[in-house]
């Protein structure tokens, strides 16, 4: 499969897209945030230095979720009062995109679930039902957008404070409502064991091999 490529409008380096549906990417050299337009790439911003982060996952990490292989092609980093976490953008081998959240090595896989009715705001303990599952609001996190890397399925670069609502079920299902846009976005999925993802091409850590 040929991957679409173009040159960075800022530094001229070659920018290759792994996923044809990616809307945004970051130049690996000059860290310019680039948006795909019909013809070309447009620079919309610049990623400041990312905070030190020790997710074992990196752009290029491959794994398996359910019956689908995936590769991590980008991420969003958030900061909150308990450190930072990553939302890794996964390109699934069926052409869809998913998310692998890694917060202090707690792993959750979710997929965008548009079209459900979402609350404007919620409180801890409230219950919502989507797809015949009852979700209970477990945590409400006020986070700072901290940076992006690689390819994303949407434009995401000029955020400041964002609110996330995490919900759980009694059957291990997991939901996140992302309030960073005017219209909240729902992601549904489940918490997963590290080993079950059969991850390859992970980072290595000094003293751990």
């Amino acid at each position: 499969m040929t991957q679409p490529s173009a040159n960075c409008p800022n530094c001229g380096a070659k920018v290759t897209f792994r996923w044809s549906a990616s809307v945004q990417t970051v130049c690996e050299y000059c860290k310019s945030i680039l948006i795909r337009t019909d013809l070309n790439l447009e620079k919309v911003g610049q990623v400041a230095d990312l905070p030190p982060n020790s997710s074992p996952i990196q752009v290029g990490t491959e794994g398996v979720y359910g019956s689908h292989a995936f590769v991590a092609i980008g991420r969003i980093i958030y900061e909150y009062d308990q450190g930072n976490w990553n939302e890794w953008h996964l390109m699934m081998n069926n052409g869809t995109s998913g998310w692998l959240s890694d917060a202090q090595d707690e792993y959750v896989v979710t997929f965008a679930a548009p079209g459900r009715k979402l609350p404007k705001e919620c409180r801890v303990g409230q219950q919502y039902a989507w797809d015949k599952e009852t979700y209970v609001v477990a945590t409400i996190t006020k986070a700072h957008y901290r940076g992006v890397e690689g390819e994303l399925p949407f434009q995401y670069w000029n955020k400041v404070d964002v609110v996330f609502v995490d919900l759980m079920t009694q059957a291990g299902k997991f939901a996140t409502i992302d309030y960073s846009d005017e219209d909240p976005a729902l992601y549904l999925g489940e918490s997963v064991q590290f080993d079950s993802l059969k991850l390859k091409n992970l980072r290595t850590f000094e003293g751990w091999s």
Binding site: A13, K14, T16, E28, Y29, P51, P52, N53, S54, P56, Q58, V59, G60, D81, Q82, G83, N84, Q104, D105, E106, R123, V124, G125, V136, A138, T139, E149, G150, M168, T169, Q170, A171, G172, K173, S191, F194, D195, N201, L202, R203, T204, F205, E206, G207, W208
Partner: protein, 455 residues
């Protein structure tokens, strides 16, 4: 990965920094995952996310420093994954004014994340966060998780009183959270409530010696004191196996009893009526006609019925084998008294007596009978009947009882263990469900053996 350009993420390195308060060297072992780190030199709690390690809190060690039994930096393998001990805290609760403290160890693996060990009086638990929500029971003091019911054990405010090393959360000395424990040995589900957010974790009881082996620690693990909330009862397994075996043997016993009943002939061999005149003095003994005990060696039941009424008769019997001259000598008394007194009517004894001679060889026999009674009470009529090969139920009852004694004993000891466990709870005693635990497991092992299960 791209074949050109820089690798997006390098290999995270261990970091050594100096404490901004006392200058001591601090090693950060979690590659930036920790939120707070505590200086071992001056006990300053520092912001591990801040490159300059801003001081968040300094605390005085009031009750002496606690030394972690698993030194920070030690690595050990738990359930196949290598973890490093990176943080240590002491938490305390007060129950009826008495402080109780336990220790918590934070373990870290850069891929698998954080895991915890807790220790109280030599009892250890291996603890991880829950990945789904437990459901509260309808009664309110139980909860259900993955089909298992947990009994509420204790709710208390746990206050952090000593910290060391790194923590993946904002740790502060003096901060408290409401901790509730629900037990289903060997597991415990704990909730920690801060504000209106609740976090759930599950602990599983683990023997100290297993941790000493996993972390290759010197010496022996401290011996556990008392019975811990989710300590598995060492008797529980025994209770189950004992009851399973008892069930098997009782089944065999019943089968044997049925077999004996269905094959025993219960055959009448002799019956006759006599009269004893107590007014006549002198030799009263006589011999009966001869009769034959056929077939195999079997028991013989001799029944004496006498029309005694506020009177007694004593009969000296001898069952004599005509062929060999061998005699079975025995005496039986039939007495029956009754009357009225201040408490109403009473009676004692009866007009019938039976005795079993356990094994009598076949052959030709006769009885020699010598009656005795108080003189001058007129005639006493009595009847003597002999049956052979009579099924004996008594042995089976006795056998059953002997089987039940050890099973009941072990169940009682198991209940005692549960009593010690629940004595430490908010309830001071076992919930009824737990007292019934022994019975419950007995019933389920009976069910298992019926189903042919082999637990």
């Amino acid at each position: 990965m791209s074949d050109q350009g820089p690798v997006p993420a390098g290999t995270p390195q261990l970091k050594s920094l100096n404490c901004p308060n006392c200058g001591a060297t601090l090693t950060l072992r979690t590659f930036g995952q920790a939120v707070t780190v505590v200086c071992a030199g001056c006990h300053s709690i520092l912001d591990a996310q801040d490159p300059r390690l801003k001081i968040l809190q300094t605390f005085q060690v009031a009750t002496g420093e606690d030394r972690p039994l698993i030194p920070l930096g030690t690595r050990g393998t738990i359930r196949g994954t290598k973890y490093e001990a990176i943080g240590f805290q002491r938490r305390s609760i007060r129950v009826d004014g008495i402080p109780y403290s336990w220790h918590e160890y934070v373990l870290f693996n850069p891929y698998q994340g954080f895991r915890y060990l807790t220790e109280y009086d030599g009892h250890w638990n291996d603890t991880s966060p829950l990945r789904s929500l437990p459901s509260l029971g309808r009664v309110g003091n139980t909860l259900t998780y993955l089909g298992e019911t947990y009994q509420h054990f204790q709710t208390a405010n746990a206050t952090t009183s000593f910290v060391l090393g790194e923590f993946p959360w904002q740790v502060r000395v003096g901060e408290s959270v409401e901790v509730s424990d629900y037990v289903s040995p060997p597991r415990v589900i704990s909730s920690e409530k801060t504000g209106n957010e609740v976090t759930w974790s599950m602990g599983e009881y683990i023997a100290g010696r297993d941790l000493w082996k996993a972390f290759q620690l010197a010496g022996d693990a401290p011996a556990p004191i008392g019975v811990f909330e989710n300590q598995p009862s060492p008797l529980r397994a025994n209770v189950r196996t004992t009851w399973t075996m008892v069930t098997v043997f009782l089944t065999l016993l019943v089968a044997l009893a049925v077999a004996v009943y269905s094959t025993a002939r219960d055959e009448p061999v002799f019956e006759d009526s006599y009269s004893y005149n107590t007014n006549v003095r002198g030799e009263a003994s006589f011999v009966t006609d001869m009769f034959e005990l056929k077939g195999h060696t079997s028991d013989v039941v001799l029944t004496t019925s006498a029309d005694v009424d506020n009177n007694w008769i004593y009969l000296n019997y001898a069952l004599i084998n005509e062929d060999t001259g061998h005699a079975y000598d025995f005496g039986r008394e039939v007495s029956y008294y009754h009357g009225h007194d201040a408490d109403g009517s009473w009676s004692e004894g009866g007009q019938k007596d039976s005795v079993t001679l356990p094994s009598v060889a076949p052959g030709h026999y006769y009885l020699r009978i010598e009656p005795e009674s108080d003189p001058h009470h007129g005639n006493i009529s009595y009847r003597v009947a002999l049956r052979r090969d009579v099924p004996q139920i008594g042995f089976f009852w006795l056998g059953g009882l002997l089987l039940l004694i050890p099973a009941l004993l072990i169940s009682w000891r198991s209940m005692n263990f549960e009593h010690l466990r629940w004595a430490e709870s908010d309830y001071g005693g076992a919930p009824s469900a737990s007292f019934l635990g022994a019975v419950e497991s007995a019933v389920s092992s009976v069910k298992d053996s019926m189903d042919g299960g082999d637990e």
